[in-house]
């Protein structure tokens, strides 16, 4: 499985950006504010049409895909998602079934699998207004899982969470990549926009660094987030300490 963008130009925001993301792996998109991270994610999700360039999903142009078919294959979690009504967790997660026309029984199974994948069974009947920030973030991710997509594209899913919740959320995502959840396809491809470089370094398989709308580095975390790249893009002299999975940035 491969989601690929080539030669993406969007007036002033992205310049000839190219990325390749693999299924069964976690890809992190990093960069300073205004680098075009969210825009690139929106392009990969098929939500923003580029002025030039193409996005292909397993070799087929994403733009030619029917909207419902695209929705079944690519799940998208927007940044700081607000939910308009005080839905129960189960109803919220059920919205992820909208692109499917599989009948109530299959929908209930998928919702149940998504709830249990994120440990939300106990909270299923609770209205959203009574949840903590971490529980809410889990419920919103479960909504994406209920669609059983092959790809999960999330825009800063960790931004509003405390450290423990960030870890838990990343472990959930990592578990999706590693194994199958419910009836879904094994080895989901996950793409995250991440601000915290240490999170990207320790939890991503692949890192894409954006600066001023251009892809400046792409590859394994140690290469893409090398001290040289960090110095050029963020203007910070820093080095990585520690072992794989526990690296920390020393400035």
């Amino acid at each position: 499985m491969m989601l690929e963008a080539a030669g993406i130009c969007i007036g002033g925001r992205l310049h000839d950006a190219a990325v390749q993301v693999r299924g069964g792996a976690v890809t992190a998109i990093c960069g300073p504010n205004g680098a075009g991270k969210s825009t690139l994610l929106g392009v990969l999700a098929g939500l923003i049409a580029p002025d030039a360039g193409s996005v292909t999903l397993d070799g087929a142009p994403l733009a030619t895909l029917d909207a419902a078919e695209r929705a079944r294959r690519i799940g998208y979690l927007p940044q700081a998602a607000e939910v308009a009504w005080n839905l129960s967790v189960r109803t919220l997660v059920g919205l992820g079934r909208l692109p499917h026309r599989t009948g109530a029984a299959a929908d209930a199974r998928a919702v149940g699998a998504a709830l249990s994948a994120l440990g939300l069974e106990e909270l299923a009947q609770r209205p959203l207004s009574t949840l903590s920030g971490g529980e809410r973030a889990r419920a919103l991710l479960a909504r994406v899982l209920a669609t059983q997509p092959q790809w999960i594209l999330a825009d800063e899913p960790l931004a509003a969470l405390d450290l423990a919740q960030q870890r838990a959320q990343l472990q959930h995502l990592r578990a999706l990549v590693a194994s199958d959840h419910g009836d879904a396809v094994a080895g989901v491809g996950v793409v995250l926009v991440v601000h915290d470089l240490a999170l990207a370094m320790n939890h991503a398989d692949h890192v894409v660094v954006l600066d001023k709308g251009r892809v400046v580095a792409s590859g394994a975390p140690l290469q893409a987030l090398s001290p040289e790249v960090i110095a050029t893009v963020w203007g910070i002299e820093a080095e990585w300490l520690g072992d794989k999975g526990h690296r920390a940035l020393r400035m």
Partner: protein
């Protein structure tokens, strides 16, 4: 979502026959027969009750759809400017003279509604953006309001002036089967269109970007909203004048009994709107008031404004 639906259907089944008995002349199966009872029931009260059900259902459902579309519990079908534009069309018919008015009024009102729908589509139809759409609706509403005031101030004679002002207040008095034949098909068509928009409205609860990622086509949704709300509201104004607050109040009353998705509030709101208008019209009919009966539009505004205020106060507490 089925429980509130059945409950409302049950109450409607009780309220409809009762409403037929109430009026200036009470008709009761247990008291001595009233002269012309059949005519009063079949030609006066039944069409009026049916009209109340039809218009109430349309306004209730349109309100629920609007609140879902704008993701805002304070939205109302009037926000699109379709009702004021239909009102403007109706007011212009008073210039056509008394004889022509019976035919002209609903046609011009529907024309006004259609004009507002066309304008909305022209301004916002291609982008499908909700903010642009709302602003366009507000602009149309204020323009139609200003033109209506102009038409009133230039009215040909004082008699027409008083007719216009009275008509604008909205009522079901003296409406018959012809009005039902005009409004019912348009309203049902509009309800069907809104029903088709329901899944997209559910997705919109997650925000515009997430809704699009779930396969919602914003342009298609916008057209469904314009046509659905336009048909329902245009038909209502064409036969009954301005009736406010139903679309705002009813979705609020039924929402706590549903799972809160817009699609689940649509049908209960239609039934609740039908019930509210039926009961309100009945009360207007039997309230003793010097110089005729209380206008339905005024009665609903009188009841609706405190409701709205309470809503605002509750929301203020939630925000604070």
């Amino acid at each position: 979502m089925t429980r509130p639906v059945f409950l409302l259907l049950g109450v409607l089944a009780l309220a409809l026959p009762l409403s037929l008995l109430a009026g200036q002349v009470w008709i009761s199966p247990f008291s001595p027969p009233v002269p012309n009872a059949t005519a009063i029931l079949m030609e006066l009260r039944l069409p009026r009750a049916v009209l109340a059900l039809v218009l109430g259902a349309g306004l209730g459902a349109a309100g629920a759809a609007m609140q879902g579309y704008l993701r805002n519990p304070l939205a109302d079908p009037g926000l699109f400017g379709i009702a004021p534009a239909a009102g403007l069309g109706a007011v212009l018919s008073f210039y056509g003279g008394f004889q022509a008015q019976g035919v002209l009024l609903p046609l011009l009102a529907l024309g006004g509604a259609g004009g507002a729908m066309g304008l909305l589509a022209l301004i916002a139809g291609r982008s499908g953006g909700i903010a642009l759409f709302t602003l366009a609706g507000m602009m149309i509403a204020s323009l139609a309001g200003a033109l209506t005031s102009l038409a009133i101030s230039l009215s040909p004679n004082p008699f027409a002036l008083s007719e216009i002002v009275t008509w604008l207040m909205g009522a079901l008095a003296d409406r018959g089967w012809p009005e039902v034949r005009l409004a019912a098909p348009l309203t049902l068509l509009g309800l069907g269109v809104l029903w088709r928009a329901a899944p997209a409205l559910d997705a919109l609860a997650l925000g515009e970007a997430a809704a699009r990622s779930l396969g919602v086509n914003p342009v298609r949704l916008l057209w469904l909203m314009i046509v659905g709300v336009g048909l329902v509201v245009g038909a209502g104004v064409a036969v009954a004048g301005m009736i406010g607050f139903v679309g705002l109040m009813v979705p609020h009353m039924v929402r706590p009994f549903t799972d809160q998705r817009p699609s689940s509030t649509l049908l209960p709101s239609a039934l609740g709107g039908a019930l509210l208008l039926l009961v309100a019209d009945c009360l207007c009919r039997i309230l003793p008031l010097a110089g005729g009966e209380l206008r339905l539009g005024i009665a609903l505004s009188l009841a609706g404004a405190p409701f709205f205020l309470r809503l605002l106060l509750r929301m203020r507490r939630e925000i604070a």
